[in-house]
Symmetry: D4
Subunit: 253 residues, 8 copies
């Protein structure tokens, strides 16, 4: 409820065209509506191009399908992360055009914006072959929001030349998503090379003392390079949203 | 801002004794005020008898003294937990009547309700001598809120008869606060003896594999006795508030 | 053995109708029986309306079925938590009327009290869709004990308006069970909104640094809101019992 | 090689009935043999009645069967712990009389001593139904070594009377093995009741913050009762050996 | 060394105005210089307005003073984080104009850019009084880089209205730094309110199960709100750099 | 209350020399007294030669002194573990003959039994110089209970010959206490050498990944040698009591 | 690109036989190539005899087969660690001569050097039967690089004589790889016996408090024997490479 | 006792120049002496040039001084690690020429070999200023054993060019010690650059989620570069010994 609406109610009361009781009834429910949450949610969808997202993991295919239906009805589209093949199959029964990004475990229904080919881009960098699913989750999340991505995969720091070889791309990126498991050194090395924000994503790739990604997580949190912040283990989607939020602010460049 | 106030504004507008613009200015700030938070805070103070509390630890004596001054002005009194001797000394310069409960590390300024001698009581039980400061923090928190406490100290389960000896008091309590470090078995044994809620407080008493209270905390969380819930290590104040909230609801018995 | 029985023995000895040796034999076994444990257990069942409960997890269907049989014989009914479909199937062979609350993983045999529609109620609040099984375990536990529940599901704090929208229910509750995984912030936000006890239940919902619920558990234990106590990860039953014990004490209101 | 043997070799050399070279060959291998390890191993078997044991877990049925064959040949019998059904089946192909203690997951081939009905006994106490496999592993380990066991199962401290009810047995035991998961309070309560050594065995029974037995392990290590020592989680065999070693030393009583 | 420089060397060789040996000497050092690291470092200083920073903690005052001298010589200024009073005193002997931001534990020597009053701003939000040093470290880091900050302190989520009261500022911010200890719920609540990147800073404020900030760290990593990334415990400086890098990219708006 | 007492009461009632009411009053308090706890405590003191012990750590010198006074009055003597110099000084003001075992941090008042020179002995073995305080705590605890000790110090397994050199003593011991920090391998090596119970005491000696003794604790719990059980980190007293309880049972050998 | 090449380019420019532009094109790509990474990689293959290796775990059989194809093409051979039977089967479809070392989970395609029978050797020592797969991974890694190995399996320190029995081999080794799970004491005992580098490999063999190998890892890191360094849990390959790198440097002895 | 000695004894017995009893006395002590431990220790000193070392931390100055005296008497010299100023002072009272390497916290008494200027060298590399004490401990340990060291300090990977700048030295080293705290990425980057063994030393430099060096330790254990092994946190001495043992084997190159 904006000020204009509020003023019009008061005006009607002042003019006698509306009773005090009737106005009171309207105003009683003001509090939280005027918190502008609804506006916020509306704005968020407008600005991000996607809106709310379904986290598939831990849900049944039936639950996911039902939420997808509701989102498609409300938002015109739906994005599911950590989508299992069973979820994809079930959703496709209702939405035959649902698109499955298998490596990234993403599922989309409806139209999503195409990445802006002129806009700033995010470099999504990953260390090893096994990190690619998480990297793809990040990359596609960014692209589905309408921003551009450059992928630099398999450039782990144990073979430093592979990374340095592509440093020009790193230096042109508006933000970097660094995806690595094991010792997670990639984030620090990149953080030392660029001067834009680096979103580090530890992955659960590794064994033994990798503690399912805790080792990489701790390493990234302790990065001695400034400008590095970290998301949860394997959280490619979260990193993608962070990076998109950063890059979206630069469209006018 | 309650409905009566809202109605009086609308009434004034309807009667023309107030302009739309003037009313609008008042109403613009409605949203959160009408969330009834203020009411809530007011109610809370009325019902609990105390209101907001100062957590002393990690604050400088100067910070504590300043907050105490503000609270005394607003609420007529102040309660400081984890009060150091330095804090006590500084506060007493302004409030010579400040009271220091040394064992419990509590500091009060102003009048607090006396425990109701007819009301239901909380049994505060502790295992060892070193657990007493935390137990006292809980016990006094309850008493300063106006409820009655029975103290059962030094009744650790390694000497079970000490606890069983006082079982009649346990069976009459409306709630129990169980304070123990080391292996924290006290909470489970009490939980098996009573049928009222048990608030378990692990303490950092112990060494080595007690991990500063983590061992007792884990044990209490895994209690095989129903009706046991747990607060943070050494959090006598938190347990006291929980127990008070429970016992307050029984005043009519 | 109550005092009357004791007196009658002594009386018989005084009257010579019973020998000292015969009386001695009876009294030798007095000690623990007179500890009133039996009484306690009897009272507990009377007051809670349920009695002892079977924790299904980690038991074989055969073990569960055997315990259910014994409980039904002794208590007239049985409640199994963490009941697997296999347990349900096996129990139903003997007790065709056994009831399976699938979402909550509960199994009941026999009659349970209906929730008192006039009594105080517990608000069971959960953050996400995946938290519902635990929330339902808590809610049904309360209802099967005869108390009333209001469910507020899917009101995670990342969309604060969903929770605030239903604050009136929160403010009328006699106790709150707050169920959340991931970062567990729900307990603190609710703890700041209400002035009744909040039983927080961390769930294992999440991945990576959620450490199977440890992150939520720690967050809840560190809640900066007073009145919050915590039970084990996914322990909906335990939270339900705690809340029921609290709300039962208010029936006379 | 004892001194008499050594002297006889030297004597033969002195007498010229044996050449220096021949004696040298014998003596070259002296060092470790004279460390009396062989003697030790021989003594151990004699005194313990069992000898070396096969830990089945993590081995293939083929590996286990081969080791069993070797042990039967060397020691006349074999004891396998953590024996899977597959191991039992395979061993029985060669040793049809192999005996499978299913609850305890033990497998024996050959004759073992019967428990001495007059000797001192170990009380094996367990908290819940799910702890029984570990308790049985301990109890049978003791019995297979020839010592007597009294079993006190399902006497968790949440129902203290169940344990106190059988306190006479506890007070007659020469040692106690206390088996419990979850919060592990059983060890401390028993430690406070008896004045003989208590071997505590944490089990992995529990969920969430039980951390697969770590909670019970920590609790037991922090026991405030003296005389309690602890073995690894679920290590019924180890506890059985410890208790047997203690009780064996009392046979002359 | 850019292409133009390289071309001019080759040109000189082609023209005979430079000998092959002389060119070779220049080119031998090409490899890493041409990696453009030097350029990068130069650019970084130009763009960020600050350059390299001294992390005071763990260094002696003498070490810090020496590094400050070198930085002032090279960069014209120096910024020390985690500066102890001893460091400040020593540095001031050489640089009497050194400025000490006591709450933030920062020390500066030389001129730093003033925050741009027209530029986008970062909202630095903190939960409790004890979190202020870390929040100030973040806020001043941003301001010393030349960007604008709005401070929202003492708005912990246990008193939600304090935060909601200032939501307009949150909604105008280009990025948010959320600083909180204990349960760290602040980051999630803010993440649900805004649609710009949130840099979460867990603090070591708390006790017991806060595990020196690990509880808040885990909570923030598991935030169910999108757009939240996390830095190390108490790392106000790192969060400030991240936020500055984000906000710097929006200057043209 | 023993049977004789019970019989005498009944006899008096049968004889009419005592009224039923008077007898009833006596018998009402029977339950726990007849639990024989008092007897147990009495027996414990008789058999162990010491009785209850004061754990000094975490207590004030005043608290310790007061408890010592009470113990001396009740038991004729007192034993304080983890006694600080301040405690010693204060206790000596009242008990000038108090004896301070400095290395072991023990304090005794009154007469303690001398070790039986003919009895079985406990071998107390320690790895390094820094482990000696814990080893001495164990050794003196055993001796003060009246059993004999052989000390084998500084025989860490990195110099295996130092341990093997003294293997004869190990092979004659009735029990072994193995004290080691760092990697705690001593317990396993000894466990493989002897066939009597080994009580392993991890110490907090070490740094970094020793995690204040957790590394040694875990190693000892995972010992591949049978017959090893473990007490808390640095718990020399607990190990001493365990070992004494074992060795006491062998006096008749 | 070495100096000679650089000089020849400059010479050609000086002589006019090459244009500035053509030279520039060559030199533009100098930076990282001249970092001598390519040389390094070339050298590494030459010296180690193997080159890059495929870590199979976490990859699909298809991914592994594709990488094997590329490696065979580039390097003439391929080595896959943690190869699953599915990977072996798929690779064999293209490379029928692929060799599967089943116990070690290694897969090779193409010719590898035979171990030098005259060269120094590495002693690979393992504690238990279940440690053999990791030990074999280390041993074969060394042999496939062309160095000699002596295997000492099943020599855990709980039966010290088994290890001491083979001490001559240990004393002749140029390096030792010590593989052990559970309490990991093997590394320390060996470290005390030899004066060459010991590479310790903790394994995940064990249960309960072994924490999947963390206990052994910590023990090995805290080894009180000098000359011991540690690799990740179950990392037989890594230990093999370390040992090979050490032993390769001794060929001229 | 070698074979020659053994033969000479037997010869004397055969020749009658020695009695059987006299020979027996000699041979009775054979067992462990012939284990060649003494020889080993002798060899170790000869080969390493240093012999046993005193770990100062956790010892009193008096203990250290006493051990130093004994070592000087036995070995002609002594090396103390983690020497406190108090230890230095006390040792100097007896050994005025004792040398204190303050940064490395080492103390030496007597003559040590000078590093061989022609021998292979170890590159000791450290990331930050605060890592220098540990790096110096490693470097001096190597030099005091007689091997050569090249120091590359302050070359953390956040400024990659600083490390690459000195890559020639890295490529000539016979082994590398990589010392780093925080995220410990240095070890992996170096491991990718060289083909000699890298001994990684995590340091406790850092704060918060560095967990006193655990983060760096885990990162190093998970290094994706082959040839990296790890020692305990801050264990510069251990790394130095490892590196020296490696480099000593190359002297003939």
């Amino acid at each position: 409820m904006n000020q204009e609406h509020l003023r019009s109610i008061l005006q009607a009361v002042a003019e006698g065209s509306r009773s005090v009781d009737s106005a009171l009834t309207d105003l009683r429910n003001l509090p939280y509506e005027d918190l502008e949450f609804a506006n916020l949610d509306h704005h968020r969808a407008l600005r991000t191009g996607v809106g709310e997202v379904v986290f598939g993991q831990g849900k049944t295919p039936e639950q996911v399908a039902a939420i997808v239906d509701r989102f498609v009805e409300q938002q015109g589209r739906a994005l599911v992360t950590r989508a299992s093949p069973e979820m994809v199959e079930l959703v496709r029964q209702t939405h035959p055009d649902a698109r499955h990004y298998e490596a990234a475990r993403l599922l989309t229904v409806g139209e999503f914006p195409a990445p802006d080919p002129q806009g700033p881009f995010v470099a999504v960098v990953s260390a090893g072959t096994s990190d690619i699913p998480v990297a793809e989750e990040a990359a596609l999340t960014i692209e589905l929001h309408g921003a551009r991505v450059e992928r630099l995969y398999d450039v782990g720091v144990a073979g430093l030349h592979r990374l340095l070889d592509r440093r020009q791309i790193l230096w042109q990126a508006a933000a970097v998503v660094a995806v690595a498991g094991m010792e997670g050194a990639l984030a620090t090395v990149i953080g030392g090379l660029v001067s834009v924000p680096v979103i580090a994503v530890p992955t659960s790739v590794g064994y033994g003392a990798s503690l399912n990604g805790i080792a990489a997580l701790l390493a990234m949190l302790n990065s001695c390079a400034p400008g590095v912040s970290v998301v949860n283990i394997d959280n490619g989607f979260g990193a993608g949203v962070c990076a998109y939020m950063i890059v979206r602010n630069q469209k006018c460049e």
